[in-house]
């Protein structure tokens, strides 16, 4: 890998500064123990290409969570925190059950941003910090966020987390992964479907195989990799060869009633194994 790296100094491993891994593990344990009530699920068809303008006909990334396989161990939460440098939450917030976790346990199964095709949060964001990519990710541009918390108020499932505290200054955040910037105080954050991994894959692809279409093959989200039961499947809804489509075929697809008619990209699977 470093064949041509020359003088590159790989950014110093910052993971040593900040709270210890145990703190994160413990917080995840706490969160899993405080698992919130589940959704009432309704059956939906398999997600198709975005109906909004500018959607890509090739890619729409999403995830499926297999409720028959998941046992609610919470490893995905920890993996997500390590991949995306998600900070711990302050004592007071923790006491009232508020965590910064991008993945939460709802009724014993993980739930994160559903990356709705027509996302209510993006419609009300005054600055455009909450925006959509053509391949179906609901993204957050932290530098453009002014912290009006309108998106958070308008998210039907409360998937968005607000940085009430300056996590870096208060020693709550730890940089496990130097490919994801740390969020500053006063901005919203949420599951990005591991945007950075998709970007890196796409960029390398465009550099090495220009002219060939990129379908995001081989990309995995941290939670999907971490799941011991393989209950989380990431993939491209529009690519029939994608593991996601294969897994979702011949299964019943569900989404929470709150987002069912908002064209979610992240869904639940159940039955017909």
């Amino acid at each position: 890998m470093q064949a041509l790296a020359g003088c590159r100094r790989f950014t110093p491993d910052m993971s040593t500064s900040g709270p210890s891994l145990e703190d994160f593990v413990n917080e995840v344990k706490l969160a899993v123990a405080r698992s919130r009530s589940g959704f009432d699920l309704v059956q939906i068809p398999m997600p198709s290409a975005l109906k909004t303008s500018g959607g890509s006909p090739l890619n729409r990334f999403g995830m499926a969570i297999d409720l028959d396989a998941c046992n609610g161990c919470g490893k995905c939460i920890l993996a997500c925190m390590q991949e995306n440098n998600v900070p711990l939450s302050s004592k007071e917030r923790r006491a009232s059950g508020q965590f910064m976790h991008w993945i939460e346990m709802r009724g014993g199964a993980p739930s994160m941003c559903f990356h709705c095709g027509n996302a209510p949060c993006e419609k009300v964001c005054p600055t455009g910090a909450a925006s959509h990519t053509p391949d179906g990710l609901s993204t957050m541009m932290y530098k453009r966020c002014t912290g009006s918390r309108f998106c958070g108020a308008n998210c039907p499932v409360g998937a968005r987390k607000f940085n009430y505290d300056d996590a870096v200054k208060e020693g709550l955040s730890r940089r496990f992964n130097d490919q994801v910037p740390l969020r500053s105080k006063g901005v919203m954050e949420k599951c990005s479907l591991c945007l950075q991994r998709l970007q890196d894959s796409k960029h390398s692809h465009m550099a090495m195989l220009p002219g060939m279409e990129w379908r995001g093959a081989g990309v995995q989200t941290a939670c999907a990799v971490a799941c011991p039961k393989h209950a989380i499947i990431f993939g491209n809804w529009l690519d029939p060869t994608s593991p996601l489509v294969k897994a979702a075929k011949r299964r019943n697809i569900y989404a929470p009633a709150e987002v069912a008619d908002l064209d979610p990209s992240v869904v639940y699977l159940r039955g017909n194994r």
């Binding site: 209510p120 419609k123 908002l262």
Partner: protein, 148 residues
């Protein structure tokens, strides 16, 4: 909402409009009457419509607006101004109610909004309104209510 209920609403608005601004009354009487109508319309729409229908939320206000539109035709002085204002009130309710519903996934009642808007804009330029014109306006409003 089915046509029968719809026409029933229209009839209620028409009927109740008969008793507004008849004789020069105090703020109290008019205010009280309008409130009474509002409560009446609210109870009516609450009892007759199923709660799942989001358009229920502003039905009573729309009925009230229609009622006021009808009623202002009986005002003596500055009739034009009050006609315009009454229709703008109706437009206001329809448009902003519509906007809030658009963001919740329903679609905008554009034809209705445009019809009312154009009617309001048109009536700005009537400096004298004859009985016939009043009648035509009323028919037009009823048509808007029933069909758009």
């Amino acid at each position: 909402m089915d046509a029968v209920l719809n026409s029933l609403c229209c009839l209620m608005a028409l009927g109740s409009s008969m008793f507004l601004w008849r004789t020069p009354r105090s703020v109290f009487k008019e205010g009280g009457l309008i409130t009474l109508y509002l409560v009446l319309f609210m109870t009516f729409s609450y009892l007759t419509m199923e709660g799942s229908d989001a358009t229920l939320e502003y039905l009573p206000l729309r009925m009230l607006a229609l009622c006021i539109c009808f009623s202002v035709t009986s005002i003596r002085s500055h009739k034009t101004r009050y006609l315009v204002m009454a229709q703008i009130l109706w437009l206001w309710i329809e448009f902003f109610g519509g906007v809030s519903l658009v963001y919740r996934g329903l679609d905008m009642p554009w034809t209705r909004v445009i019809a009312i808007g154009s009617c309001a804009a048109g009536s700005v330029f009537m400096n004298h309104i004859s009985r016939e014109m009043e009648f035509i306006l009323m028919v037009y409003w009823i048509a808007i209510w029933m069909f758009f």
